[in-house]
Structures are given as C-alpha cells and as structure tokens.
C-alpha cells in the first residue's frame, strides 16, 4: 500500500476506484471495478443480489478492505493506516438498510454521539445541529424518543440525520428503503431527493427507479462482481446495452 496522496484525476473527483478487487475466501466479490464519482454527483448502483454492489460501497469507507487496486476518496488513498481510515469515515456518511440506530440512546443522542466524540463539539453546539437536522428530515418532535418508539421510516430519517451531523462530503446509502413498509418509502426518498438537490455527493444502492430517474446522474449496473454497465438513468432504463441489464430491468420494471 502506498502512502496517502492526492488523486491525479483533478479536483472535481470525490471518489476514484481503479481496478478494485475483493475476495471472500475463494469467492471473488469484486472484479476489476474502475469508476469515479464527481463532486455533487448522485450515482445510483443497481444489480441483482450477490452482484457485489453492497461490497463495493462498503469498500469506499473501508467497512470492507479491498484486496487489489486502489481507492482514493476526497484526495486520500485508502490504506491500512487506521488514522486515515477514521478520518475518511468521518467525512463519509453511511445509511444502512437496517438503520442500525443505537437503541440505548435517544434520537438526539444518536445524532450527537459522533460529533461530540469524534469532532469534539461542545454538547450545546452538537444538540443545536441535531435539532436543525431533525427539522430538515421532518421529525423535530421525536428528538427525545428512543429508536424503538419510532416507525421504520422515522428511524431511517434519524439515521440520515445522524450521518449528516458529521457534515460529510459524501453520503453512501446501502438499500435505505428495502426494509421499509411501502407507505414509508416515500418519506425517506423525499429526504434523499432533497439532499441530492442540495449538491451532496451520493452513492445510492436502490431499486427505486423513480428516485434513480429523478435524482440520479448516473447508474452503475453490477453483475457477478463486475461493473457491467454505466449510463445516465434515462439511457439505462430505456435502452440498456447489455443483455444482463435488459434481463434485470425486465424483472424489476
């Protein structure tokens, strides 16, 4: 692994992946992934389950370690240096399919935990920021409740607020609406669309075609660990180039 170095692809590149490979034992989860994400771009990642899309975005904040190739995030190359990793993670927000809120903390404490302990913000500053974010995701009245007292959609919006509290430059979403009841999907997608409109750089795994068309700048289609197709949403959904993507779309459309 080489030392951290600025990306050579120009200032506008937030994420650069070059020939990334990842193995789980003998199973190759990622095979030669090369792509980049510009500042403010919203990239939608699609593909059948087991295609490596989740593994891919988890390598971007090193929840998974990539085995080969290189990944540069915001000018810093991901390596085994733990300080680098923690710094990069605090610049990247992540939202999970199963929310992963901390059940022993109130909503506001969930949001302020990382700012207070990683960024060293004073309690009042962090709480103010948390309330602003809860306003933004539309549930300021839930601040004092515990996660278990909220609906799934509300929990996911808290999780988005928690990630935003660190003032990240990039947001990763790993199937954020897959665990939600249909009537709650929209409230989460609305928040995500608002976020996309505000210029946040986002990488989103989702099967929500409406969101992809509305907010996405580009679709990455994964299959069997490879990045098979890469196109703007209107092109991808109307005239997919590869047979695999055509089959996939015929199943979900």
């Amino acid at each position: 692994m080489s030392d951290a170095q600025p990306s050579r692809a120009g200032d506008d590149t937030m994420i650069l992946a070059e020939d990334v490979e990842k193995w789980f034992g003998h199973f190759q989860a990622l095979n030669g992934i090369t792509t980049s994400v510009r500042r403010g771009e919203v990239v939608v990642v699609m593909g059948p389950s087991g295609s490596g899309k989740s593994t891919f975005i988890r390598t971007l904040n090193r929840l998974e370690r990539h085995d080969r190739g290189r990944i540069v995030v915001d000018g810093i190359e991901l390596s085994d240096d733990i300080r680098n990793i923690e710094r990069i993670r605090s610049e990247i927000g992540m939202v999970f399919q199963s929310f992963n809120l901390f059940p022993h903390l109130t909503v506001v404490d969930n949001i302020t935990l990382a700012p207070r302990n990683v960024r060293r913000w004073p309690k009042a500053t962090a709480a103010d920021k948390a309330m602003q974010l809860l306003e933004r995701v539309g549930i300021p009245e839930q601040a004092k409740k515990y996660p278990a007292q909220l609906s799934g959609g509300q929990q996911q919006r808290v999780a988005i607020a928690r990630a935003l509290a660190m003032e990240p430059r990039i947001m990763l979403f790993d199937e954020p609406t897959s665990a939600l009841d249909p009537e709650m999907i929209k409230e989460v997608l609305d928040v995500m669309e608002e976020l996309a409109g505000s210029g946040m750089t986002m990488v989103v795994i989702t099967h929500e075609i409406g969101f992809a068309r509305e907010a996405g700048d580009r679709v990455l289609f994964f299959d069997a660990g490879r990045l098979v197709e890469e196109a703007p949403p209107d092109v991808f959904f109307t005239s997919p180039q590869t047979e695999r993507a055509q089959l996939f779309l015929s199943q979900i459309l």
Binding site: N61, P147, A159
Partner: protein, 412 residues
C-alpha cells in the same frame, strides 16, 4: 397454498361480519368464590384429590414450622449472640464506628430510593410491607434488650425515612452528589471501621460477609469487563492470556482458590510484603468472580448486532469509543439479570470463609451453637444466619428487578 387462499379469505371475511373468527372465552359475570374454587381446584377427581393432599401438606408443614418458631424454639442462643452474629468480635468500645456506618448507609440508601422511585403506595404493597415491617419490629423488640440499641435502631430508621423524604423533595438534582456518595461510600466505610487500632482482622459476623461481598463485586466488575474485552482483542498475546486466565480460574473450586490465597500466596509474595488474611481472601475471591463476570459480559457483547459496530465505525468512532459508547452500554444492560444473579452468589459464597476460620456469619452461628449452654439448639442458632443471608440476597434480587425496568426504556 396460494390456490386455497382466496377461498379462505372469503370465508374469513364473511365470518368477521357476524362474529370474531377467533373464539374468545366469554367474559361473563365474574365467578363467585365457590365457583372459582370448583373450577380451578376441583375440576376433576384427580385434581380434587391433589388439592386436598397438597393443602394438607401445606397445613401440616406450616403448623409445625409456626409451632417451632413461636412455641418450641428457644431463641436465646441468637438473642445472647446477636452482636456476634452482626459484627463478630468487633471491640465493644469501638462499636460506635459500626453505628456511624449504619446511619451513613441508612441515609444514603434512603436518599437514593427517594430520588429513584416516586412515592407509590399501592394497597398491595402496603399489604406486603406492613406485616413484614411489623414482624421485623416485633423480632427486634424480642431480641434486643437494650434501650440504647433500640434508640440507635430507631435513629437509623428515622435517618432512612428522612433520606427518602429529602430524596423525593430534591429529586434529580441529587443524582450527581449521590453517585459521588456511592463511589466514596466503600472507602469511607472501610476507613471508619478500621482506622486507629481496629484492624480488618477484627471484623466479623454479617459485617464481614457484606464487606467482602461488596469489595469483591466492586473490584471484579471492572476487572471482568476488561477480561471480556481482552478476550476479544485482536492481539493474540492479550486474548490468549485472558482466555487462559478465565478457563484456569473457572476450572478451580472457589474454596481451593481461597485456601491457595491463605497458604500459598504468601510464598509467592516478595519477603517483607504482607497483607492481612482477609485482603488475600478478597484478592483470590475477586479473581474468581472476575472470570465469571467476564463470561457474562462476553455473552452480552455477543448479543450486540454486528450492525451496531458497523454504524459506529462508519461514523468514524475509534474501536475504544465504539466499545465504550455503543457496545458495552448495550451489553451490560442485557446482562443485568445474570450479573445480579452472580453477585448474589458472590454474597452467599462469602460463607465459604467459614472454612478458613474467618468469623463470618455462618462460622459465628456454628460457634454459637456449639457453646455448652446452648447444646441442642443448633436449629435456633443456624436459622437466623440463613434468614439474614436470605434477606440480603432477596433485597439484591428485588433491586435488580427495579434496575431492569428502569434501564429497559428504549429496549428493542
């Protein structure tokens, strides 16, 4: 199955219009007492005879027990040795120290209760508490023959009640001072009981059991958490050491460890370094207990879902902070029942110190039963000791239930 579904649904929906699909037992008028007894106790011949038999057994045992307690038994062995049961051979001219500690703890416990639990005197609680209190007062009046001791006990009770009242009035503002008070309580108690010419070797009776139990619990809890974390460490040297320690300690009976502490530990210490017998016993007991605490905490940590660690890491929290702020708080909360269970065991196991001739409660009771003038009254000597053990263990168990409901908020 999918083929049968529409038909089922159709029939179900028709039924719903008329009456609930699930038959609920009719909620008729409440049963009369005679009807309740007939249905629950004498529904069949077999159940009826079981009821009669077990009822007779309960009456028989209850009658003999009560007759023993109130008629046959001669409690003078307990009455004569009451002070020894409580404090062993603690010197009489220093007994004020014990009373000072009693008042301090009565106040501290009272204030804590006042702060933590709102006043809720349901009729059911009164129904349980008042006979118990009456029984306690009656027993005290019967056992204690000294006006001074009555007065002091009254003062302790009054301190407790005043503490509860103060805690209720001042409420949450007292939480911080209370925490400090509890943290300082144990060192304070030890100092008050031992400074000057009263050494730790003069402690005895129930006092010794309680001090040893509190010391072992207070020391083994953090040590056990460290062992549990060490066991999961990614550094093999640390995790192997922790696993080895835990398995070694858990594989040896507690009594063996205590005897080791008494006779072998001294040989391992550098010459000139000496600790009181009781300190060595507490040391070995703490090692024993911490191995169990470690395994309880490990179980709790395994119950914390992987997603919690991932979420914490994704936020940029370091491994240490992830453990301290996310994993451990959840793990410790789910382990309250087994943890308190273990602590109750620790308290009861302090009676093993009798085997090493420490004059703890059980030892004292046996010694009392062997005195010439009380020969033939072993039951009267030993039962009070059992009752004292039970009372404290029961209080711990009740306290654990209260803690559980308090921290259960937001549990998923």
């Amino acid at each position: 199955m999918s083929g049968a579904l529409p038909g089922d649904l159709e029939r179900a929906s028709v039924r719903v219009d008329e009456e609930p699909a699930v038959q609920v037992a009719p909620l008729g008028p409440p049963l009369t007492r005679a009807e309740w007894i007939r249905r629950n106790l004498f529904s069949t011949w077999f159940n009826g005879s079981l009821t009669v038999l077990s009822g007779a057994l309960v009456l028989f045992l209850g009658f003999h027990f009560l007759r023993f307690v109130f008629v046959t038994a001669d409690w003078s062995v307990f009455r004569a040795n009451l002070r020894v049961y409580m404090v062993g051979r603690f010197p009489l001219e220093h007994i004020w120290r014990v009373w000072a500690v009693t008042f301090f703890l009565a106040g501290l416990i009272g204030v804590s209760r006042g702060v933590l639990t709102p006043a809720r005197w349901t009729r059911r609680r009164l129904l349980v508490v008042s006979p118990a209190a009456a029984l306690g007062v009656g027993a005290a009046l019967y056992l204690v023959r000294s006006a001074l001791v009555w007065t002091l006990m009254g003062v302790a009770a009054a301190t407790y009640v005043a503490g509860v009242a103060a805690g209720r009035r001042l409420g949450r503002r007292l939480v911080r001072p209370l925490l400090v008070g509890w943290l300082l309580a144990f060192p304070f108690v030890v100092v008050v009981l031992s400074f000057g010419d009263v050494g730790a070797d003069r402690w005895g009776g129930l006092l010794l059991n309680v001090i040893v139990a509190v010391a072992v619990i207070a020391l083994s809890f953090p040590l056990g958490i460290l062992l549990a974390l060490g066991r999961q460490s990614s550094l093999p040297a640390i995790s192997w050491f922790c696993v080895g320690f835990i398995e070694l300690i858990r594989g040896v009976p507690l009594l063996t460890l205590l005897i080791f502490g008494r006779f072998v530990l001294i040989l391992l210490l550098p010459p000139g370094v000496a600790f009181a017998q009781i300190v060595r016993a507490i040391f070995m007991f703490t090692l024993f207990s911490s191995a169990y605490v470690a395994e309880i905490v490990r179980g709790g940590l395994q119950g914390v879902p992987e997603g919690q660690y991932e979420a914490a890491r994704a936020l940029g929290l370091s491994t240490t902070r992830t453990l301290a702020l996310v994993a451990l708080p959840q793990a410790l909360r789910t382990t309250i029942p087994p943890m308190i269970g273990h602590f109750i065991s620790v308290f009861k196991d302090t009676s093993l110190l009798a085997a090493l001739s420490f004059s703890e409660l059980l030892f004292t009771a046996r010694r009392a039963s062997q005195a010439f003038e009380f020969i033939g009254h072993q039951a009267e000597a030993l039962l009070p000791a059992a009752l004292l053990f039970w009372m404290i263990a029961f209080a711990m168990s009740r306290w654990s239930q209260r803690v559980e409901t308090r921290v259960g908020v937001g549990e998923r």
